[in-house]
């Protein structure tokens, strides 16, 4: 099935052996040749010594999801040879280190096995254990370059960019490239049928992971206080924020910082810090993942009820409990939507890729401050830690942040008396003040019963008045959150509806189904609560395939609850084994469900 500019390369190595930079070099080289790529990392939940895979999909069409093929397997890890070979798609190739013979590799006749003595070659050409290991990685890049006909100029240039002044490193790396390249060229018919051919499909595109993009969004939103507790797969979000801040938030004269990153003692403290900072008027956020959300539950309820802005990035991983920390899933939707005891509901935003992580991050602060409530950005490991090709982000230098209804000292001067929880505008959103601004602005923030004036109460009707207003605010939120992406293929009765990282696989599936003459409409929700558009879309269709990455149909659940979508027409296609979604799953499932419906 592999073809020119439509190949899936998978590299099997051991973690901690430095293969990440070699894999990145490979991915970038293809991208620089103008050919779209997708890069996915499959790594274990440990630090060193276990099998790890990097998958590069070369996709002229620019699809964003993983493919369920493996055309060219580079099996560098003896522990997983057997498994890796089994995975190669019929007609594909397997490259392995033939320094040691592997007779079991002759098992499959439907694939081509290419042995390259990487270790031997590197031992002959390089000194030092560490160098030899690193160079072996570069050497397989060289071999792949030959097999797929990559542009060596581009590779050279990338190495130069990486090592800059360190010319000797450029030289030694190029030597390793050559070793692999030459061996392949001499021993095999290069290039393979499936190769990479320069084109012009990556213009104005970048390759980035979602955590970096979200961090950049936080910088652009003007966030100043980031509190967090490390947890995979959200850690790199704060790491990136720290790097950007080191660059853009240090006063060049005084060397002083205009940001505070606080590594909290745990997630309970991290969210407490965010609430404290937001209360003071700073834009503040915390990145975390499932277990962290569970620990933040009590504070999230306080923020909801006391109406304090907060931005929480939940980079979801496979649950429940510790689950599989290095695998992806979308299974925190329900627990985030209704986090905390008592009557609560929370705004969720669902970016679908790194580009949206950037814009959604900015939006999340605007919405949190406008609505005075926690906003949770639900990304996942696939978006957060994998390499996506996305259009260059745009930034409007005229952007005016929405700080919401905050009374200034002047406003307060002109007021008789300030009451915190009055709904003066009829939109369910009260006015707030910032501590320290003005003597008249003081009020008491509390999670205990309070009335609309902000006073403590145990009076049932005063209490009820406030929680009822929160429902009105929810309706306002519905009008402010991002609208879904909707695509009509033709005016038919069936559609696919998905969320977040389901987007890539579903869109590709739409194309594939269309090629089978099945034209489905498409809706990708971007936020909870759902607005009119989602409701209208659901109502308009007779069958909606709800594609999501969890076991319990959590998105479907929200559709049923928030817009009373009729469950009879919502057909769940659930993918939750921890791997990113691929179009094949969607296509197969849709076809199966269609067949079932016909049979019934």
């Amino acid at each position: 099935m592999a073809a020119v500019n439509d190949v899936v390369i998978k590299i099997a190595t051991v973690n901690g052996t430095g293969s990440a930079s070699a894999n990145g070099l490979l991915r970038k080289a293809i991208f620089r040749m103008g050919v779209p790529v997708v890069g996915k990392n499959f790594f274990p939940s440990n630090i060193q010594g276990l099998p790890t895979w990097y998958e590069i999909r070369v996709t002229a069409d620019g699809y964003q999801a993983r493919s369920n093929r493996t055309d060219l397997m580079v099996a560098m890890n003896a522990q997983t040879y057997a498994k890796d070979m089994a995975e190669v798609t019929s007609g594909g190739w397997l490259v392995y280190d033939s320094t040691w013979p592997r007779s079991q590799l002759l098992d499959r006749e439907d694939i081509t096995v290419l042995g390259i003595p990487f270790s031997k070659l590197c031992n002959e050409n390089f000194d030092g254990v560490r160098t030899r290991i690193l160079m072996k990685n570069i050497a397989y890049v060289g071999a792949i370059a030959a097999l797929l006909d990559l542009d060596l100029e581009v590779i050279t240039q990338l190495l130069e960019e990486t090592f800059g002044d360190k010319k000797h490193l450029v030289a030694s790396n190029m030597e390793a490239i050559r070793i692999g390249y030459d061996y392949a060229t001499e021993n095999f018919p290069c290039p393979l049928e499936a190769s990479v051919m320069a084109m012009d499909n990556t213009k104005d595109q970048v390759i980035m992971d979602g955590n970096t993009a979200a961090a950049l969004g936080c910088v652009y939103a003007g966030a100043t206080v980031g509190a967090w507790y490390p947890i995979t797969p959200s850690t790199s979000l704060m790491d990136s924020f720290r790097s950007f801040c080191a660059k853009y938030r240090v006063d060049s004269e005084t060397d002083k910082r205009t940001y505070a990153i606080i590594q909290a003692e745990d997630e309970l403290a991290a969210i407490g810090m965010v609430l404290g900072a937001s209360w003071m008027g700073a834009r503040s956020f915390t990145p975390t993942s499932g277990p962290g959300i569970s620990l933040m539950t009590e504070f999230i309820g306080l923020a909801y009820y006391a109406e304090i802005p907060a931005v929480i990035f939940n980079v979801q991983r496979t649950g429940p409990s510790t689950g599989m920390p290095t695998r992806t899933q979308q299974a925190d939707i329900l627990s985030c939507a209704y986090a905390s005891h008592g009557d609560t509901k929370h705004i969720l935003l669902f970016p679908a890729n790194p580009a949206e992580c950037f814009t959604t991050a900015v939006q999340s602060f605007d919405l949190a401050e406008r609505l005075q409530t926690p906003v949770m950005v639900l990304s996942d490991l696939d978006i957060g830690m994998n390499d996506w090709m996305v259009p260059e982000f745009e930034w409007d230098d005229e952007y005016v942040p929405d700080r919401g209804k905050v009374l200034s000292a002047d406003d307060l001067d002109q007021m008789d008396k300030f009451y915190r929880y009055l709904d003066s505008d009829g939109d369910g959103i009260p006015y707030r003040t910032l501590p320290g601004e003005h003597p008249k602005g003081s009020f008491f923030t509390r999670g205990s019963g309070h009335n609309k004036l902000g006073g403590y109460t145990e009076d049932g009707s005063e209490y009820q008045e406030v929680v009822d207003r929160l429902l009105l605010k929810w309706e306002t939120a519905r009008t402010l959150v991002p609208k879904p992406e909707i695509i009509y293929s033709k005016d038919n009765k069936a559609a696919i509806l998905t969320v977040g990282s389901g987007n890539g696989g579903c869109k590709e599936a739409l194309d594939r189904l269309a090629s089978k003459n099945i034209g489905l409409n498409y809706c990708r929700v971007k936020a909870f609560p759902f607005g009119e558009e989602v409701k209208g879309f659901v109502e308009k269709h007779e069958v909606i395939y709800v594609v999501e990455q969890n076991r319990d149909a959590q998105l479907k659940t929200l559709l049923m609850l928030d817009i009373e979508a009729n469950p009879d027409k919502l057909v769940s296609l659930l993918h939750y084994n921890g791997m990113p979604l691929n179009a094949g799953f969607v296509v197969d499932s849709v076809l199966k469900e269609m067949a079932k419906a016909c049979a019934a």
Partner: protein, 351 residues
């Protein structure tokens, strides 16, 4: 919370401070605590301290957890911003608030349950950061609001109203703070306003984490015979070790301190505190020695009070982080963004 409206009469003859405010102006709503509760005395000591320090009410933030003690921020400084958060989590809220706005004064009020049980983790980590705040533990040895269970500060052998005496080792806030490096540590008693007011003043002005562990008897659940946190027991075993005077910025040190026993310390705003050592052996500048002294005395059943350790030298959280002087919350968002057009440059690195 009260059904009685607070009388808002003007009292022209009440003394005024530099801001022209009277002590009344630093009061809050009427307390709903039990009559005689130690916490109310601490509230009034706080009011006196802030009045005398001429603090602008709206420039002070008062934060608490949950408990009878944590209710008290409602009972002082009604013109200040208050945040009654969740049980045991006052330190993190204060940390975030302070990170956002370093210019305000932060008073955290907590209980022994709030700080030493559910909040123990946050308590120790706020100390580690040398968070610039005044942290008050209103310590009664019990959970008042949930009706009298022993807290982690209950002493071994202390008897409940009914049932068996406590057998678990107490967590002593003072020695915990010493072992973690808090930079201003005092212990006092709600019934000793004379000692308490200067301690609070110093704690408010100290730049860094100032802890006051204040024994504050719970008249309803822990003031009976056999309780080691009762008024009677506290009075009986109470020892001043290092008292202090607070001296405002302008004033000179006048009082005639006995040589060797007085130790003046300059605070960051120019004011001073003078330590008066009652026990000359005591060294309030050494964590190691202070700890040893305190343990030995507490083994002997003594309650050692006063300003027990102070270190004006250690940088507080913002300085440890190297932050700008302007509160982060006051920076305009525009000034925080990379320059116009910079995004394109950044993105070039991702091609």
């Amino acid at each position: 919370m009260s059904y009685i409206a607070k009388p808002k009469v003007s009292h022209p003859k009440l003394p005024k401070n530099k801001l022209g405010l009277t002590e009344r102006d630093y009061e809050g709503s009427v307390s709903t605590l039990c009559a005689g509760c130690g916490h109310d005395s601490i509230t009034s000591a706080i009011i006196q301290a802030v009045f005398e320090l001429d603090i602008e009410p709206h420039r002070l933030a008062k934060i608490s957890g949950i408990g009878c003690s944590s209710k008290t921020p409602t009972y002082f400084m009604s013109e200040s911003h208050g945040f009654n958060s969740v049980h045991g989590r006052m330190p993190s809220v204060t940390t975030g608030a302070n990170a956002a706005n370093r210019d305000l004064m932060y008073v955290g009020v907590s209980g022994d349950g709030d700080s030493l049980s559910i909040g123990a983790g946050q308590f120790v980590h706020a100390i580690r950061r040398n968070l610039n705040m005044c942290y008050l533990i209103e310590n009664n040895g019990v959970y008042g609001l949930t009706k009298g269970q022993f807290s982690a500060s209950a002493d071994i052998g202390s008897k409940p109203k009914k049932g068996l005496a406590n057998q678990q080792e107490p967590i002593d806030a003072v020695s915990t703070a010493l072992s973690l490096g808090a930079t201003y540590i005092g212990r006092s008693f709600s019934g000793d306003k004379e000692q308490l007011v200067p301690l609070i003043k110093g704690a408010m002005l100290h730049k860094g984490f100032a802890l006051l562990d204040i024994i504050s008897p719970c008249v309803t659940f822990n003031d009976h015979e056999g309780s080691t946190k009762s008024y009677a027991h506290t009075r009986q075993f109470y020892h001043h070790v290092v008292d202090m005077d607070y001296i405002p910025p302008a004033k000179e040190i006048k009082a005639d301190y006995e040589k060797g026993s007085a130790m003046p310390i300059k605070l960051h705003d120019g004011s001073k505190i003078v330590l008066r050592k009652v026990d000359k052996e005591y060294d309030p500048s050494s964590r190691a020695k202070a700890f040893k002294y305190l343990r030995e005395r507490s083994n002997a059943g003594e309650i050692i009070t006063g300003l027990l350790y102070v270190n004006e030298g250690r940088p507080e959280m913002h300085d440890l982080m190297g932050n700008v002087d302007t509160p982060l919350s006051k920076l305009s968002l525009d000034s925080l963004r990379p320059p116009d057009g910079e995004l394109e440059r950044i993105l070039r690195g991702y091609r």
